[in-house]
Amino acid sequence: MDVTRTEVANRSSRARTRRGSAARLGLLAGPVAFFALFFAWPVAAIVARGLKVDGVWRLGRIADVVTQSDIRHVLWFTTWQALASTALTLLVALPGAYVFARFDFPGRQVLRAVVTVPFVLPTVVVGTAFLALVGRGGLLDELWGVRLDTTVWAILLAHVFFNYAVVVRTVGGLWAQLDPRQEEAARMLGASPLRAWRRVTLPALAPAVAAAALMVFLFTFTSFGVVQILGGPTFSTLEVEIYRQTSEIFDLSTAAVLTIVQFVAVGAILAVHAWTVRRRESALRLVDASVTARRPRGAGQWALLAGVLVTVVVLLLLPLAVLVQRSLDAPDFRYYRTLTSEAGDTFLVPPIDAIGNSLEYALAATAIAVVIGALAAAALARRDAGRLVRGFDALLMLPLGVSAVTVGFGFLIALDKPPLDLRQSWILVPLAQALVGVPFVVRTMLPVLRAVDARLREAAAVLGASPWRVWREVDLPLVRRALLVAAGFAFAVSLGEFGATVFIARPDNPTLPVAVARLLGRPGDLNYGQAMALSTILMVVCAVALLVLERLRTDRTGEF
């Protein structure tokens, strides 16, 4: 009798676990299908196209390509510029992280939002802004005859500009929440201020610094738009080289090999990143960020604050200001007015149409990214998520690092036959853009979903709410805000997506970044000025989206 009872109970508990996994699989089905169809398949298809000759894999090509001296040069440049950019970004941004976390000064909130603007700016805009600052006929050229666009410094500075916010957000966000009393406890036990910082604060921050450094390394390692515009013929990253091989030299097999190389490198970076994130989740004493900041005291702290403010103005605000100034550098807003005219040789449509296209595409991409990302986050946030599911978490980050050019070109060759013939469909562009948006949605939602106290859900269940109602009544109201923030980020990155869009946007339907790049590729003052004008418009749209988000943002939402 007892034995059967035990068995019944065992079976029912196993049934529960099975139900849990079934629910999780149901949630994951959408994201998995999405990634299989619109990411794995196109990438696999283009790699196969490059490496398969007459149905036979030519893996020997990999060794051939990697040993070519010009390719080795590209690999070497990609790596060292990413390392240098990361080191430089940390050097410049860590004092900023400290100042924004621990000092209370007028305008702090606004400035915190302002330094985030570059991160959501399209890379094309960043490149254009730096061109206006340090390029031929740029501000420095006019003032002192200094040009940096032929040196690697332009690229490095643009990368610092772009990633400053990653460090301030990731490291500063944690720094602001570290309990200052921990350091005080160390002081009471006889540690000097420096020693207390080194022994207590630094170890707590180290995983966040590592995670931020890895993200910066990832973004700069795969940099495309910035290098495409500022690199000239001398400097080329893997991503730029893939683009060149694919669209200019039509050497698909070299492009395929480079895609694989980048894929492996990015996979390794993400694996290390996942490890640091897990370390970061280790139990730290966190407090409300609003209570840790105080006004700077003493000459040293005021000097630090002043230094950070000057850096922000010179490095982050100046390029944007110059961009705006250049776009206005003709009588009667000529560069803006001419955007509406039927331009002849550069476009089939007036450049202004790109704004409408961009907004439509970005809205559709946002909708897709939010649905897919929210489903994935809901599945990943479940407490019983196993190793397989956590693996999927890392996989979701891959589109951030895998060559967008490859994805774009892969779309063209993989999604061109029934049942999935999307070549003529407008949805192709939003699909590609959503791929980049999903990781942001997941990263923003996941911490919030995980922070929802499981016992709140239990309280609802005991009061009679079914699992679906628990989600609607408990989770949704708590994550609604994070969902909006995620949507905003997805919107901004979709708007700025360049690498994939440049391949698949049809000539009569260009997006803003594509139009900017095309204008810059043409000679003449008018094209240059129009590029500046379009970039300014794009920047304003992104900045407005971000500033709206900043009002919604809470301390717990996300790592970006």
Binding site: D2, R5, T6, V8, A9, N10, S12, S13, A15, R16, T17, D453, R455, L456, E458, A459, A460, A461, V462, L463, G464, A465, S466, P467, R469, V470, E473, V474, P477, L478
Partner: protein, 342 residues
Amino acid sequence: MPQSLLSLEGATVRFGARAVLDAVGLEVAEHEVVCVLGPSGSGKSTLLRAVAGLQPLDAGRVLLDGRDQAGVPAHKRGVGLMFQDHQLFPQRDVGGNVAFGLRMHGAPRNEQQERVRELLELVGLPGAERRAVGALSGGEQQRVALARALAPRPRLLMLDEPLGQLDRSLRERLVVELRELFGRLGTTVLAVTHDQGEAFALADRVVVMRDGRIAQSGTPLEVWQRPADEFVARFLGFENVVEGTVAGEAADTPWGKVPVPEDAPQGTRGLLVRPAGVRLVPADEGLPCTVAARTFKGTHVAVHLQPEDAPRLEAACALREAPEVGDVVGVEFDAAEIVVLG
């Protein structure tokens, strides 16, 4: 015996190799208030979660009204659970929290409003419907949590450390209120707490748990007067527990010969001497002890006595009779305050 509302049969929950609930059997009759008492980690909360359906059993059964609950999910069991830290929904106001269970059961809106009003009055917060839960004090949150748990009229109400986080005076007042309330409503209650005072004040029956097993079950008076073993005695706060050999009406202990009640079981056993049973006499009579410490307890003074080669003794004295620290006194024992443990 009438059928129990709740019965657990060999309920077992393991976390890894450790059995958090180890073959627990427990019956709760209708209208009964049962309090599970035990130190933290003894499995009390897991017991409630298992009954609520939030924690699957590894073995055994939970029956409600005689029906096996295996495979019945939490939201269909019709029991209420008040969480230790209340777990009020932060995005809803007081009224929204209390009405939650009613909404889940599809009660019409006007009925919800009526019931919320009635319950808030019952728990002493009339008219609090529109207040934000974040602005409530600990005691008020506790009342709202209680009203929320009572609203769908659960057949069994479970309370997890219901008064745990409140300060002492509030706790003592609320425990009386709860007792009256449950008596008036005829609610069947299963509560868990680590505070013996709370358990004794609240319960018809007290169940003491230790390491996932039930150590003793009985009315508060029974448990207080006759702790089942050394663990229960010590958990109830008794310090004077030693092993002794009982022969006839006396026991051989490290404190010397100690008188025991007439019907005491014989042989080597645990012996509990209540502080009131430790009588102070002049130093040359009885067991000589040095006064090591004295603590003021309001109604009496607890005097800690150190005999020469034996464990410390605690004695309860009237304030004006209490000796000073360092004094040497003699000790005699009172058979009526001595319990031979099982």
